[in-house]
Symmetry: C2
Subunit: 373 residues, 2 copies
């Protein structure tokens, strides 16, 4: 070990290994590929025994905050899928969308079997005064360190995603204090306190923009914005409180890092596809309730698309997974029969009780069924 | 009291009071009305202090099973909204969709602050053998008794709805054992055990058809099928496991009771609107994620529509509720500017922490803004 390597948090001039698999980047730019690239939301997670072994020793946010641990669990699925002869085409840094509320000064715990929990959620607009606008380069340095280390360790095998939660999704968590059946408390803010809602959404947007750009500086080669709660909004509320901030993020991030593909996943916002296709996002990620044919028709070549096998389909036998993958790919074919501009994924993340071999069966099916003829 | 009145469970020849407000029935048939009829899903519920007072003394399923109590809570919102000068245009019998799993022999508890709980949910296909095909006229007699009594007590002021859960929604509860974040266990059956899934869905369909027809015999003047979990399905899975059973119910029920308007609420199944509009349902109920303009365009006059103010909008001030109602109605206008074929409702049910006066503000806004010019 010498001291000549750049420190992980030095955002200039990392000497990263050359990228050897650029299918994902090419698909995001609508360029031809030898097969459709595929990765899985939450591919590093509890369905992997090797992940559970790490989590048995370290709590959730310790893994997020320790670059060596975050790197290890990020690499785990790459190793397993490689060994099975069905390599993934991308990695995504192990982290959580709630690191931003933490950076704003809120406490977030991960409660076993229940999910995230905020002991002191936002209760009323005056609580916004308690949030501090963080120096994102300092407060989330552990994420950049994890990205830099992981990109080195991947050795150029596949690109590495950074990510963030979207403003409305983070706002909803910060007010509900965790998951919720109907997000009524957070939605009540939108209807009853729209000024305070816009103030919070703009604060989150500013932090998110800085955070995404810093992730690229640290080594992220693609970025995804997760608006997991978009579907709780009406089309009108999405138009007022969701879409404008998503569009602003795309505009500001692409102005700074134009060559990095930017993905957006507005889960449940089926009505928002047309509007999102008109923004600067390169790739629109689809949940499983969107018909591939309909998505291609609405997006109409303005963006690439990502998706969208039902994650519950991975409970079926591998032959069924193969058949469902074939149906999905057939729906995503362009008018010329090609699959250009498609990145295969699930409609939602991997679940703890999925079998790793069934995820591998899906990746293999995508590769086998989409090979350029 | 004499013995000459028909017993509540005698399905022939009830001598019910004449109906004085038929706006809902007219709107369901696309006939002109003096204003748009309006009612609220879960209008009898915990947001009403008078309802909480009944529940403080009687547990949930006792209220369902005791005709006098079910009648009392069904009438409560009618009285309150009348007294406020904003009368509702329909009532719906107080009951629960889970009375059918109970009739099939499953135990269902209502757990405070958590919702329904099945101590022994279906775990594997062989568990289907433990379900008994009930005599629906006997097993759910308490519902018919409640309907008959309530229809007499309403005195013809407004029509009385009967209802049921849809096959997929009931199947999902029976397998998950309660509410669920992603319904993965129930969806796994569809992908991994499709034969057993179809067997269960057909059993439920047969019971539902008998149940709906018996409700009409007991006094129900309109019927709604709640497919609350439809949106957890992909379009393909809805096409295989959801829609065919919904369509079968409509066909069989309309064959027996053609004049009773039949409503369907496939919550979250935005992709299913076109297919549902082609069935024999008279009215398609919309959740809040469907744009009124889009719904009218897709349904294209084949059915009336019902909906769909965001229930979270009722947390706003009455002036805001008025403005949002105006937006909603404007989206539902037909090409000729009329509001024919619309029944106003929410996109989902009333919530326990809603203010009764805000619900009243919505009903008043619908009436005021939709008066025939």
């Amino acid at each position: 070990m010498t001291n000549t390597a750049p420190a992980p948090s030095d955002f200039r001039g990392h000497d990263f290994p050359a990228l050897r698999n650029d299918r994902l980047l090419r698909a995001a730019r609508h360029e031809p590929v030898d097969h459709v690239p595929v990765w899985l939301m939450r591919q590093a997670g509890r369905y992997l025994p090797e992940f559970r072994a790490v989590r048995a020793k370290h709590d959730f946010f310790t893994v997020c905050r320790t670059p060596e641990l975050a790197c290890e669990v990020t690499l785990q699925p790459l190793r397993r899928f490689n060994a099975a002869g069905a390599p993934l085409d991308a990695s995504i840094i192990f982290s959580d969308i709630l690191v931003i509320p933490q950076a704003l000064g809120m406490e977030v715990q991960m409660v076993k079997g229940k999910g995230p929990h905020f002991p002191e959620p936002l209760d009323r607009p005056s609580d916004l005064d308690s949030l501090r606008r963080p120096d994102v380069r300092e407060a989330l340095r552990y994420v950049y360190d994890a990205l830099t280390l992981t990109r080195h360790e991947i050795g150029g095998a596949v690109p590495l995603f950074g990510f963030t939660g979207a403003p409305w999704t983070l706002m909803a968590y910060m007010i509900e204090g965790g998951g919720s059946k109907n997000y009524a408390k957070a939605k009540a803010w939108l209807y009853a306190d729209s000024d305070a809602s816009h103030r919070l959404l703009q604060l989150l947007t500013d932090v998110i923009v800085d955070y995404l750009i810093a992730q690229v500086g640290a080594g992220a080669q693609a970025l995804q914005v997760f608006d997991s709660h978009a579907g709780t909004l009406t089309p009108a509320a999405f138009g007022t409180f969701g879409y404008p901030y998503l569009a602003q993020i795309a505009q500001r991030v692409k102005a700074k890092v134009p060559s990095v593909p930017l993905f957006v996943f507005a889960r449940g916002a089926h009505y928002g596809l047309d509007a999102l296709a008109a923004t600067e996002y390169d790739v629109i990620s689809l949940d499983e309730t969107v018909m591939p044919v309909a998505a291609r028709a609405i997006v109409a070549g303005r963006a690439a698309v990502q998706g969208n096998l039902d994650n519950a389909a991975l409970f079926a036998a591998p032959e069924t997974i193969h058949a469902l993958t074939e149906q999905m790919l057939s729906g995503f074919r362009n008018a010329d029969g090609s699959l250009t501009g498609l990145i295969a994924n699930l409609g939602h993340g991997m679940l703890p009780n999925h079998e790793p071999d069934h995820a591998i069966a899906y990746v293999r099916a995508v590769h086998d069924l989409s090979k350029a003829e």
